[in-house]
Amino acid sequence: MLLTIDPTADSPLFEQVATGIRAAVVAGDLRPGERLPAARDLAAALEVNMHTVLHAYRTLREEGLIQVRRGRGTVVSTRSSADYRGLRRALADLVREGDRLGLSRTGLADLIRHAPGTAP
């Protein structure tokens, strides 16, 4: 997994860390059951505060993307990886359509952010 954060970017650092891990899980770089680095180690490598990483882990845990297991630390949730295969395909379609229409990635992201939710 490749994690990049940019301290000069607008979005908060914890969100950038969470986004990077989320992308790695969806892309299959991080497999279900795989252990995430200890918050302290990740913080040291990215030169951020440990609480920033813990905040990111908390966010991902609330999403159900990762879980804390006793004795094993933080691991990627073992929900069926097929879940992400659909998302991966949809994401590729979305980006292709966006590029075809000349939308910027930020514009595309905003569309997703404001898209009406599917009624349950």
Partner: protein, 333 residues
Amino acid sequence: MSPHPAPTHPHRARSVVLGVLLPALLVAGAALLTTTWLPRLPDPAVLHWSLHGPARTGPFTELVTVVVALAATTWLLFTTLVLAAGRTEGARRVLVGSAVLLGATYAAVLLGSAWVQLDAPDAAAVTPSATPLVVGLLVAVLLGVAAGLLAGADPHLPAADPVPADAARLDLPAEARTMWLTRCTVRGEVFWWAGIALWLAAAVAITSLSAQWWLLAVLLLPALPLLANLHWTLQIDATGLHARALLGWPRLTVRAEETLRADVVTVHPFTEFGGWGLRSRVDGTSGLVLRRGEAVQVQATGERTFVVTTDDATRAAALLNTMAARSRGGATT
């Protein structure tokens, strides 16, 4: 291949004192001491033990001759290795430590065999006891570990030249902080576990047959490095490349500022490194070789080369080049 300039061997003097002189002194000292004990030893003395007592008797000098001959052969081999290899910290510690461990073991065998027979009227009156030998082996292990610890860390050798322009880089925002992390497992893991299980079973069988519990510890020792080499975490960040085994040890580190360049290569573990795991070659190449296939090859200062097999090697090599370039002051990204 480009011609090599004079290879650099850090802590050369220390390697010679610990890895060459110390083992020779230990064996020579033990041989001399047992020779002075000859008048106090039975003649014939017990030369070989079975599980039930003395198996073979003869003049004790015969045992001294055999052990010294074996020790000399081992010493020649390790002296060659200590002098020729040991360019990187890991190889140096293992070689120097092993040389001392083996020398001390031969000394322990001599001293232990003589000690239990001191002042016995004849071979039949000798009471077999493994205690002196066990104590001797423990001391040998401690001496080996101590020598390995004293063999010296690699000196800090920052590169003077910028990273070559043709070395692939990763396109990152100037202020970005990046880390790459992956976990690797040795190819055919199940066979390694089967091998370890077989070894365990054999060790338990031998131990219970001989009823010598301490044998188990000796027999299990070689399984540890095998076990430690199965799972690795690889990380590249601003400080360089770090490989860490599952148990936290052994480790392999290549600092960003000591990195000359990183490239993607294809590795054949057996033909190039003679096996799998953390390997070291006499030419100063260290390999973390877990499978055949793509690998990151890092050239570092001090004539060192590191080869690490991994998925995603293209991105890993490019990131390491980027981090190496940044460590030079950021002017050459």
